[in-house]
């Protein structure tokens, strides 16, 4: 079975919610919709306090090419435009809307039909993704219309659909593949058409055999789509690792998948693209896994953006007393939330509640030079060395040792028997090196 060749770890899977069907989370009384739910320029608010908005109506418009539109996820009245603490822990502008009913904009096709035939032209598809505020739903939230616009001189011959879901606990992609398999395949066909490629590969880790079987069966009706099972190993869902695993192409250091004629989209994105193109539905809700060992009723929910994490936790049976940490995203790469009033955004794939006993870090011990971090690194870097260099401020050498290649997957810190904060220091070194490099360019 396919997998990436170097490094990787096997954290306990803990997919507690794999068998729980996706439900619709009841609408919250109010939402706070941040204007920056994507990589790039924040969108510009186009509504005012007191405005009545409908579900799906655009409330903030993208600014520049790498940016994304933001749509209202509920119908109601704009209460205020203020700041909110988002998943990163920083404050940013958000549109606060008090929910009144659930009146959708008329253009959205809310019928049960699943139109297969793609009528739009490639250019129209890209335009539709831009209008609908589609961003990568795997977590990076890179605006999809940018990824679908292949720059002059580049060529794409393979589309990879990422269904690896290698993070422990998370099952949102898994459930989506099981319950919206056909829609994902139509979405994949749309992406293929937009990119003008004839070949798409869906990579799914082998702990999701039902999803593999389901999509394999369905894919026989679609031209050019193949489903490949992958050996379970973290970080398989990382773009470069997935490309290496599936088609054995190695994205050069500091370059993009397009440099090896490949583009990767997440299964969730494929679904969102389907909804935008075939059903005219902008991106204002997504599947979120709410999970944790002490949680009463963990589950998977369709959640409107801007919904406070608190509503999700309440639906899952309330915040367990022993909660030590609330993570947005998976436990390997997710962000610890400062409070539970943070709104769910386009990139929120899951909320993981970590019990207090597991939420504290180990005491830091001396490095015993066991080299486990070196064998865990999927990029074949030397984390122990990068940490030491960052600690000592030897950033020039850290740059030569390719600290900027690090994708921050956390395998080194996860595996270190001495509990050393390898990735913390590597982040410090990496950001310093990037600043140094920028300075060099501007000089």
């Amino acid at each position: 079975m396919k997998t990436f060749p170097v490094g990787g770890v096997h954290p306990p899977e803990n997919k507690l919610t794999a068998a729980i069907a996706i439900q619709h989370l009841p609408l919250p009384a109010s939402v706070a919709i941040p204007v920056s739910q994507h990589i790039g320029e924040p969108a510009a608010v186009i509504v005012n306090k007191g405005d009545r908005v409908k579900t799906g109506q655009m409330i903030a418009q993208s600014k520049g090419f790498v940016s994304s539109n933001i749509h209202s996820s509920v119908s109601g009245t704009v209460n205020k435009i203020d700041t909110v603490i988002d998943t990163t822990g920083f404050r940013q502008t958000a549109v606060f809307i008090d929910t009144e009913g659930d009146e959708w904009i008329e253009t959205i096709d809310r019928s049960d039909e699943t139109p297969v035939e793609v009528i739009l032209s490639p250019e129209e598809i890209v335009k539709k993704c831009l209008e609908s505020g589609i961003v990568g739903l795997g977590g990076a939230t890179f605006p999809s219309h940018v990824k679908l616009t292949v720059p002059a001189g580049k060529r794409c011959d393979t589309l990879i659909i990422n269904g690896a879901e290698c993070e422990p606990y998370l099952t949102s992609d898994h459930r989506l593949m099981l319950e919206k398999g056909k829609e994902i395949l139509i979405g994949t066909t749309i992406l293929m058409k937009a990119l003008k490629v004839s070949k798409a590969i869906i990579g799914i880790e082998n702990n999701k055999t039902h999803a593999i079987d389901h999509l394999t069966r369905l894919s026989s009706e679609f031209q050019g789509i193949t489903v490949y099972p992958l050996k379970v190993k973290y970080p398989q869902g990382a773009e470069k690792q997935l490309i290496k695993a599936l088609i054995n192409r190695e994205v050069p250091s500091g370059r993009l998948p397009l440099d090896v004629n490949t583009i990767v989209h997440n299964v969730g994105t494929a679904f969102a693209v389907y909804e935008a193109v075939q059903k005219n539905k902008p991106l204002f809700e997504r599947v979120v896994t709410i999970t944790g060992k002490s949680l009463l009723k963990p589950g998977n929910y369709f959640v409107r953006t801007g919904t406070p994490v608190r509503s999700l936790i309440d639906a899952a049976g309330g915040l367990p007393e022993d909660t030590g940490k609330v993570v947005s995203g998976g436990p390997m790469m997710g962000k610890a939330l400062p409070n539970i009033d943070v709104p769910v955004v386009k990139g929120t794939s899951g909320i993981v509640l970590i019990p207090r006993s597991e939420s504290e870090r180990m005491e830091i011990q001396p490095c015993i030079r066991c080299a486990k971090c070196v064998s865990a690194c999927a990029l074949n870097l030397e984390p122990y060395l990068l940490m030491t260099l960052s600690e000592k401020g030897e950033f020039e050498r850290a740059e030569r040792e390719r600290i900027t290649d690090c994708m921050e997957c956390g395998s080194c810190s996860y595996t270190c028997p001495a509990g050393r904060p390898l990735l913390d220091y590597i982040r410090l070194g990496k950001s310093t090196v990037i600043k140094m490099a920028r300075k060099r360019v501007s000089n």
């Binding site: 250091s253 090896v260 939330l337 001396p366 080299a371 486990k372 030397e382 990735l423």
Partner: protein, 333 residues
């Protein structure tokens, strides 16, 4: 507020491995070796092991507590491993006072002067052993022959090791074919029925430990395999040139400390290289030096010296032998 959330950077979960668990994993791997040494050398093996372990722990405790004035670290298991490995590198009838001196050198000089666990460039147990070998050459090379469980400590019957027999014989111009009658058969050597250090004689016990270390993912195959393969290849060439002057490859592997050294001493985390490519070169170097010392050197055995010499090259290897980074060369398939 008692229910404040922890906020820290990812990853938010940690693997189950700890330094202490790794060290106790190594100790578990040494159990077969310990049992066979008691089986062959009797009470002596118990006394030597107990003395070495106790004094290593004591010296570490005293140094950390009264000189470093830091929280005591002996529970991490590393001093225990050093104590066991030092004992297994000694003859079973060595006087207690010499063991205590060796332990002091291992812990105080080889480990603690550099700052303790993780900082020492040379394998502590081997530094202790080599110090003892040079300072007490007679006691360190008087090898009890295996006489079973009931053997006493001081009254053990001694004899030469197979390596010493060959070395001495060749020096006196005797052809190997005539010396072979004096050394144990390969089967005896595999089981451990020969003179030598307590822990080095029984190849099967060492191999059991090796399997456990691999299974438990404590070490990788690179260092032990590269050492053994290098010794096999090097001695095979010599043997093919002149079988009367050079012993056969199997003899070189089974006699003496190659397996103990390759599996337990050269793989010491702190003093071995940090990536597979460097590990292979390191192992190859140890293999070459071992054969050179054994065949042309003054000592019949060279594993300890070979490992210590290669220890010295480890920082250099870590600095200049790099793993091939992902995406370093474009390779499309």
């Amino acid at each position: 507020m008692s229910n404040l959330l922890n906020v820290s950077l990812s990853p938010h979960i940690h693997g189950k491995e700890t330094t202490q668990k790794l060290m106790f994993g190594v100790i578990a791997a040494l159990i077969p070796v310990f049992l066979t040494s008691v089986f062959f050398f009797g009470y002596g093996a118990l006394i030597v092991t107990a003395t070495s372990v106790a004094s290593c722990l004591l010296f570490e405790y005293l140094i950390v507590k009264f000189i470093f004035r830091k929280p005591v670290t002996i529970t991490d298991g590393s001093a225990l491993v050093t104590g066991l490995l030092l004992a297994f590198n000694l003859p079973s009838n060595i006087p207690v006072i010499i063991i205590v001196i060796g332990s002091l050198i291992s812990i105080a000089v080889a480990k603690m002067t550099f700052g303790g666990l993780g900082n020492n460039p040379f394998n502590p147990a081997l530094v202790g052993r080599v110090f003892m070998l040079i300072s007490f050459p007679v006691q360190m090379t008087t090898w009890p022959v295996p006489a079973g469980l009931g053997t006493g400590y001081a009254d053990a019957v001694t004899g030469a090791t197979p390596l010493a027999i060959i070395k001495e014989g060749i020096k006196n111009g005797e052809p190997i074919s005539q010396l072979m009658s004096q050394i144990p058969t390969p089967a005896q050597m595999f089981l451990g029925d020969m003179g030598g250090s307590m822990g080095e004689v029984a190849a099967f016990a060492l191999l059991l430990g090796f399997i456990w270390l691999l299974f438990r993912k404590i070490i990788t195959w690179h260092i032990p395999v590269s050492i053994v393969v290098t010794i096999l290849a090097f001695t095979a060439v010599l043997w093919a040139v002149n079988p009367e002057k050079y012993a056969n490859p199997l003899f070189h592997i089974l006699a003496g400390g190659v397996l103990l050294g390759a599996i337990f001493m050269a793989t010491d985390y702190v003093t071995s290289p940090m990536n597979p490519k460097a590990m292979l070169i390191y192992g190859c170097g140890i293999g070459m030096l071992t054969v050179i010392i054994r065949v042309w050197g003054a000592y019949p055995e060279g594993v300890s010296f070979a490992i210590l010499i290669m220890n010295a090259f480890v920082p250099l290897m870590n600095a200049y032998i790099k793993p091939k980074r992902f995406g370093e060369e474009v390779k499309n398939g």
